[in-house]
């Protein structure tokens, strides 16, 4: 089973949201990382066939998904970023409604809906109206609807938004459990969500795929760029304005900083192992990067002049 994005492009007037993106996905969990406006949601919408590309194609096992129509949608499970629900429906009503749209028979829909309500721990509120649900409960219901047809391709856009840490852990375990023989595309801002469960990380910036690989492989690309150092509060403030700080911890009178930088930020800084979060910050802390580039250029000029 293969899902291929072939030279996929989406343009909106003067903006290119997805820019000639090509990749082939096979069963596994793909963590899609990128800042706001990187093109993640646009890519996912094109993957689900609810947004037509300006050019390029989405192919499933070599067939154009647009021409596959309902046969392709039959393989899909999709949870959009903004999950619109029907306030007057109960959780069970809603799942039965979506199940009908997904083509499940009435009997199968009931069984499957109850199974999934249990899976997402909503069985006790199955007959409560959705409008009474918390944000996390609505999100879990959204995940349940995406799984109704046991999809081969599961597309989850910011699925953990609004979930508390316990719910996020439960969600991660759930996705790991059901991902066998499925292509799962999961976009998030919360790096730790994909760090633990994603087989492959896809990193998007300005509509392009800038990195792809296993978490350990792509973090290796910034090996030597992550530093830890101790600084007094004034120095810490200065470093914070110049560098990308991935962590800052107060330790007595001093601060312990974790800095992502191509250059050694202070004399006492020591290199440390990069994480996915460091990688994310390295690519998406735009302003700091500009400042750092300026600082580096000034320092290089100064060295040259000397």
């Amino acid at each position: 089973m293969e899902l291929t994005f072939s030279n996929l492009t989406k343009k909106y007037k003067d903006k290119t949201a997805v820019d000639a993106l090509s990749i082939t996905l096979t069963p596994g969990i793909y963590g899609l990382l990128g800042a706001n406006g990187a093109g993640k949601t646009t890519l996912m919408r094109m993957a689900c066939g609810i947004l037509n590309p300006t050019s390029g194609k989405v192919l499933f096992d070599g067939k154009d998904t647009l021409s596959m129509g309902e046969n392709y949608r039959d393989l899909l499970g999709y949870l959009p970023q903004h999950f619109g629900y029907y306030p007057v429906f109960t959780a069970l009503d809603y799942l039965l409604y979506i199940a009908a749209l997904k083509g499940l028979s009435a009997g199968a829909a009931k069984v499957r809906a109850n199974e999934l309500l249990e899976l997402v721990s909503l069985q006790t509120v199955a007959k409560k109206k959705i409008k009474t649900f918390s944000g996390g409960m609505k999100r879990r219901l959204g995940i349940a609807q995406a799984l109704l047809n046991d999809p081969k391709i599961l597309v989850l856009d910011e699925p953990t938004a609004g979930l508390d840490p316990k719910e996020r852990v439960r969600f991660r375990n759930l996705i790991s459990n059901i991902s066998k023989d499925k292509i799962v595309i999961l976009s998030t801002h919360i790096v730790s969500d994909v760090e633990y469960i994603a087989d492959i990380i896809l990193m998007m910036k300005e509509g392009k795929l800038i990195h792809q690989g296993k978490p350990s492989e792509i973090t290796a690309s910034i090996s030597g760029y992550v530093w830890e150092c101790r600084a007094d509060p004034m120095q810490a403030e200065m470093l914070n304005s110049e560098y990308t700080i991935s962590n800052l911890k107060h330790e007595g009178n001093a601060d312990m900083l974790r800095i992502v930088s191509e250059h050694k930020p202070t004399e006492n800084a020591v290199q440390t192992e990069p994480t996915l979060e460091d990688l994310y910050l390295f690519y998406f802390s735009e302003e700091k990067s500009v400042m750092e580039r300026k600082r580096r250029s000034t320092s290089e000029n100064r060295e040259r002049n000397n």
Partner: protein
Amino acid sequence: MRIFMMELKRMSKTRATWISVAAAVALSIVLAFSTFAGEEYETVDQDGNIERITGISAIAVNKEQKAPYEGEVTVSKLQSDLEVFHNLFDQYGGNIPFDLYNKEISPRFQRLNLIASVYSNNQDIFTALEKIEPNDVQNFYAQRNQKLEETVEAKYPHNSDVKNQVMLLNSQVKTPLTYFYGLPNNSFFILNFLTFILLLICVMINAPVFSAEYQTGSDDILRSTRNGRAKLAVSKLLAALLIDLILFTVSITIFILIVDKTFGWERLVSSAQIHNPFLFLPITVGEEQALLVGAGFLTLFATACFSMFLSTKCHSSTTTLVIAIAFCLLPDILYQVIQGAGNFAGFISCILPSGGLGINNNLSYQLGNMLFIQVGQFSVWSPYLIMGAAAIEIPLFFILAIRAYCKHQVS
């Protein structure tokens, strides 16, 4: 079928739908009773004080008083009515004593009004009748035809097509005309008004059908499912139309039952020409009522389909609602602008989905207004154009809505 049932369940569960249905039912009852408000009967008591009875009580008295004058409107009856009028007028002039007026003129008023309309252009009925002799009424039905022909000629000079259409239909009007108490008066106007309000309520129910899904983002999930395109669109359209149909049927049935039961079912066999002397359509009051309901149904459904088509095109329910309501009011505005003249604006006014349901351009008025629209070489009577356009627009906008929904792209 299951998707349709689920969609129907979803739509019917919303508070907006229930409030709309309840409002429509309440309104139909209130408006039905408002048709009785104009009914009154006045008597003089022993002390000479005028006692006025209104509403349902007045209907009962009027019904009893006018019963002897019901039935066929023959020439001899018209002559006798005119003789009675002349006797009283010669004796009292314009100041006929109250009890005599009540006893002799009031029950004959509808027939005297017919005579005045056919033989005179004077708006004041007494002035008009004063100059008409009983013998003149001998040719009442021929005179009615002649005046109708003159009216057509004056309005559409040298247009033989219009004249032929009018006179052909008129030749089928059954004479002598039949009169029964309980003529529509304002009840047809109120029936049209009720249909117009129902139309607005249906537009309010239908406007969010698709656009609310776009607005909340729930459409993203729906359209990524197997049956989330054409089948879902058809189910949504049918579910909304079924709710509209139920709302329309229940409200109109309540209105008609209350009005016809109170005025008396026999009123339905009266000739429509009794209250509208130059109506050239050969129908009874009952058939006219059925025609108004049928045309109202077509117009409401055409507007419902149009508003749902708009809903597939707009990204917010409010935008859909504003545009749909503007289109509901547009035919009325255009009709007022053109003042009944047959031209392009008249054509647009008639073919818009809600044509014929406004306050001023409603079908009840159009039936009597003799408005013909020039469509190429043909002259089409406005009620035909309104109903024909609505009948075409129902499937047209239904299909266009499905197509637009399937082609919709999330933004």
